[in-house]
Symmetry: C2
Subunit: 186 residues, 2 copies
């Protein structure tokens, strides 16, 4: 699609320095100049590895959901299986297969990429790859890390629709692929 109005151009970086380089807290402070000449002396960029999530549907047509406590918002919420692309993974798809197996014990099935999202293109450097996995099967017990406390619930399609209708999936990175999936079913 052609742009209908004016062109929008990138910013120029005048200065850049790391304030922190830790897992889940790698931040650059940048002094930037906009195309109109205005400057932002303190712009914060948060670096993360890429993330993945999976809408996994079992051979019985059940959707594999997780419940986790999410500390910043202080809520227990329904979520998709999700995780981080590790250096050992050969691709985001491999990361997604690994995370689904580790967190839920489900594997196999037919996988496709549903969409690619940004958590926030203004603040976050990473992307989230969202997959749809059909006909997954429980192949082993979950292998949770000591810091993971995850409940796995199997929901019917009607339950997923009801969950979405009552705003029960609040994580935007999960709500987007779920609503896309629902829109494609109709």
């Amino acid at each position: 699609m052609e742009e209908k109005t004016k062109a929008v151009r990138p910013w120029e970086v005048l200065e850049s320095r790391y304030l922190s380089k830790k897992p889940w807290f790698t931040v650059r402070e940048e002094h930037v100049r906009l195309p109109n000449g205005n400057e932002l002396p303190h712009y914060y960029v948060f670096e993360y590895p890429n993330w993945i999530n999976v809408i996994a549907i079992t051979t019985e047509g059940k959707y594999v959901f997780e419940r986790q406590y999410r500390h910043a918002l202080g809520v227990v919420s329904y979520e998709l299986c999700a995780g981080v692309c590790e250096a050992v993974d050969g691709s985001p798809l491999e990361s997604a297969r690994r995370e689904l197996l580790e967190e839920t014990g489900y594997g196999n099935g037919e996988w496709e990429e549903l969409m690619v999202l940004s958590p926030n293109p203004g603040t976050h450097t990473n992307l989230t790859y969202c997959y749809l996995a059909r006909n997954v099967e429980r192949v082993e017990a979950p292998h949770l890390e000591p810091t993971e406390d995850i409940a796995v619930d199997l929901l019917s399609l009607d339950e997923v629709r009801a969950l979405l209708d009552r705003n029960g999936v609040i994580q935007a990175l999960h709500a987007a692929p779920l609503w896309k999936h629902i829109s494609m079913l109709k």
Copy 2:
């Protein structure tokens, strides 16, 4: 809906301190204990005010989109009108009406809340209120801040569908309400 499997409980905060308290960079470092007894000595919580966004449809049935350069990802992307709930706003709805008028010059119309999202309930303290505004009209010229460089494009519903189908809206907080809206049209 009843929880189908085990209960998931909150974490206990053992220590909490602010690393920074600046606009767009307010961060707490917390030492937390999980219900299973395991501890995370360095958990980062990012505080933000609430945000809003708007799917605005004109009296002619056109969708009001924006294009902006987003510096962390380094892309110019199609987005909804979006912004921050300011202290002067009486409600998130007021914030959304104010932002739409400031950034695009469109106002009036019939407004409803479409959904409420979290940018990331694990890391972010805030919520994003998503609105659907029908029959908005151009009532004045946009009033952009010196640091805003925004192009406003009016898209037909077919163009919005094509944009979504080609993964053209990558900001998860915008893709979710757009796909929900599309799913409700069918």
